[in-house]
Symmetry: C2
Subunit: 456 residues, 2 copies
């Protein structure tokens, strides 16, 4: 509240409060009701906690940056989607991802960082996409990246799936598949076929195979003027099936004589072996040769993650290995590997699919309901619970008991602690389980242990 | 990482990486190094946890809103400080506080909320202030507000200081004072003196008394054309001193016959009594009649908080009671009381004053350092620690032991777990305390309990 006045401290005539403005939120901007927000924050906290369990360092960069800096890759040119504007003589851009700010940060603070630099960042990014269901203009990305100084061992590419595994295990949305591929395999195949100039078109077409099917891919490649024997090689490659070791063996037996292809094959074999060592169960990870992850940013391992029961949601966690994080800011070679969870969209989809359960509209475990005039004892009891780490609200308004319990019901408090004259005199509290209706009188000395054991 | 490609998926020519852009961050935008960020996050987490302990509900509103909505009070006009721009045909504003978005939210979602609505919001706000040390254009506000439907009991005004108390106690920056006042006392005095038309000028002048001193205030009031006997009344009022009960008694003995004054006096007496009941020690709260908190937003209790050893920092937590949160959006009367901590500025000042201690550049407690080829056992041990909730990093690069320990030192890991062939064969780990240099060999079965007991 406090600083509000600084801005209102002007001599401009204030608006007449009789002329109401409609209190609306812009389309494409998520704003949740309490019971949704609480579930959203639980997901946020699980992701953050898992990233920290794996030793990632928190980073928070500005949402606003100089347009020259954020748009360095595009030579200062901006897409329609970018939020870009001027203030005074500063050309500003709202960040559209967390990777470009990371690149800037690492280049800027190189001398103050120890490598490998493992950072996580969870924050809002902005893209003026067409508004449609499930597409947001402001959305959270939850990123981790491991950045090497000059080089970065391949074993990091296998640690990433173990972090995805632990994150989605902790989120608890049922079975999931971590799919991975290596861009060098496809790049090598294209080199071998001598069609590198058309590599990006091929990538784009292949990327769509899950959506449009094999036949359409063949047609599209033919439309680009590819020779039939080349299309055959590609479709043969795309038709490889089996478990991970079978896929690797079939890739070998394709007999592609190309160094990039061979390196990709070696990398994917090692990553496949290493992942197991990181404790990811084998039914949670699989090689998927159709994954390309767009254009020329990724250079090695690439990842996507899907929920087995909700394939329509698409990838819920994607990323990959890249050769050079910050080439637009520094000559230093900074290879890395990372992933991102698009939390806002994921929450929207999970809620729509009925997977996230909305229960309480309060994070508190208990509402203390005093029905006495002197609040000293109820407040003492609330203090005791809070000191024990129990989120506790005291109902302070002078309303009827019915109104107070109504409030507790509406917010979904699991427990209510009623304190009337008797309880106050005895130094007890009547704990009511709001789901079962069960009531028990509990002493002041026991209340913390009892509530703590109930909610944990 | 993942979604980056969506935006780069254009046919525009990319910039030539040979032309480097300077990786800079805009002035007025805080961007911290890891060891600072970790301390910042600790403060953030303590504030959030304390707000939740008192039963506040999380809220997250968009950073971008329609200019018409955010600037409703000013009739759509915006200050120079406001970040306002157009995209397509939408007139957008970046939020400049968390109160206006709260007002919009409550008016919009009135039917879906239970009252009193206790919400906390911690988020970035934007003001294009002149850049100078300690002034930020992007900064975190940490707000709580309790909103009533039609009315809100005065006892809430006494709960707020108990939340401030618990927050700053938990932050641990030494002794602090919660100062409070009631705007009705000063307003009543001005009514009694029949100088209401000049009330805002008087408020503004009085607000500065701590900075400019008594004599300057007298001169400024005289400059505004105030009669000497009126100035005398005001300065007599401003010279009231003593403990809270003495101040209240002296306010009574001023013999001001005015209903607003009398109500203010009654409120401040009750709030003073109630605060004690909420368990705030009496040396942590004091009535300060010089606090006015700017212009006409606050209507009752107002708060400021200062750190005893660092008075120069000014108020670190301010707020107050207001009659009507959302009058620009709804006819419903929504009184409230709230406070805000300006975390970014507070962090800057505390760091400058040497109060926040910067120690580790990693949130992890332990770095596992394998000096074996087969990483299975080190990774199994890391998994065990993580399952026990210990933030654990495994050093994966193929470097010398010296380089690995160097990395541990640079990041400030409190413990390193070295695993060589012997440890791997024995299923043990050599735990090195990085501060004392002490080393102990520990079994796989004991390692979790030992590390957990060391770090807690």
């Amino acid at each position: 509240m406090g600083n509000l006045n600084d801005l209102n401290n002007s001599d401009k005539p204030a608006r007449n409060p009789a002329d109401k403005v409609e209190p609306r939120t812009l389309p494409g901007f998520m704003e949740l009701l309490p019971k949704e927000q609480i579930q959203f924050n639980k997901m946020y906290d699980i992701i953050r906690k898992t990233y920290e369990l794996f030793g990632f360092i928190p980073l928070d960069t500005p949402i606003l940056e100089s347009a020259e800096v954020l748009l360095a890759k595009a030579g200062g040119e901006s897409d329609k989607q970018i939020y870009r504007f001027s203030k005074g003589d500063t050309d500003l851009t709202m960040r559209f991802d967390l990777t470009v700010p990371l690149a800037k940060y690492v280049a800027k603070n190189y001398n103050n960082l120890a490598f490998p630099f493992r950072r996580y960042q969870i924050g809002k990014v902005y893209r003026g996409e067409k508004t449609q269901k499930g597409r947001y203009r402001e959305f959270y990305q939850c990123d981790i990246d491991i950045i090497g100084d000059g080089k970065l061992s391949l074993i990091n590419d296998a640690e990433i799936p173990s972090i995805i595994y632990n994150t989605f295990k902790a989120l608890g949305f049922g079975a999931f598949q971590i799919k991975f591929n290596n861009r060098k395999i496809l790049n090598g195949l294209l080199e071998y076929l001598q069609v590198e100039e058309q590599a990006s078109e091929v990538m784009r077409i292949i990327d769509k195979i899950d959506k449009v099917g094999n036949e359409n891919v063949v047609n599209e490649l033919a439309g680009l003027g590819f020779r039939n024997d080349h299309i055959d090689k590609i479709t043969k490659y795309l038709s490889i099936k089996g478990d991970n070791l079978e896929i690797i063996s079939q890739l070998k037996s394709l007999d592609i004589e190309n160094a990039t292809y061979a390196l990709g094959l070696q990398e994917i074999s090692q990553v496949n072996e290493f992942i197991q060592m990181f404790g990811v169960p084998d039914y949670n990870y699989t090689i998927d040769l159709t994954i390309a992850r767009g254009l020329d940013y990724y250079t090695g391992t690439v990842y996507e993650t899907t929920l087995n029961d909700y394939p329509g949601i698409g990838s819920v966690c994607s990323g990959g290995r890249y050769d050079n994080l910050a080439e637009y800011y520094t000559d230093r070679k900074l290879p890395g590997v990372g992933i991102s969870i698009g939390l806002t969209r994921l929450f929207y989809q999970l809620e729509k699919a009925g997977i996230v359960k909305l229960a309480n509209a309060t994070p508190s475990s208990i509402l203390i309901v005093p029905i006495v005039d002197d609040l000293s004892y109820p407040l003492e009891l609330a203090s005791k619970l809070r000191k024990g780490g129990i989120d506790t609200e005291v109902y302070l308004e002078p309303k009827s008991l019915k109104a107070k319990l109504n409030y507790a019901n509406r917010l979904g408090f699991p427990y209510v602690g009623i304190i009337g004259d008797t309880e106050s005199d005895e130094r007890t509290v009547t704990i009511k389980n709001m789901e079962s209706g069960e009531q028990n009188k509990v002493s002041f000395d026991d209340v913390l242990d009892i509530i703590a054991s109930k909610i944990r």
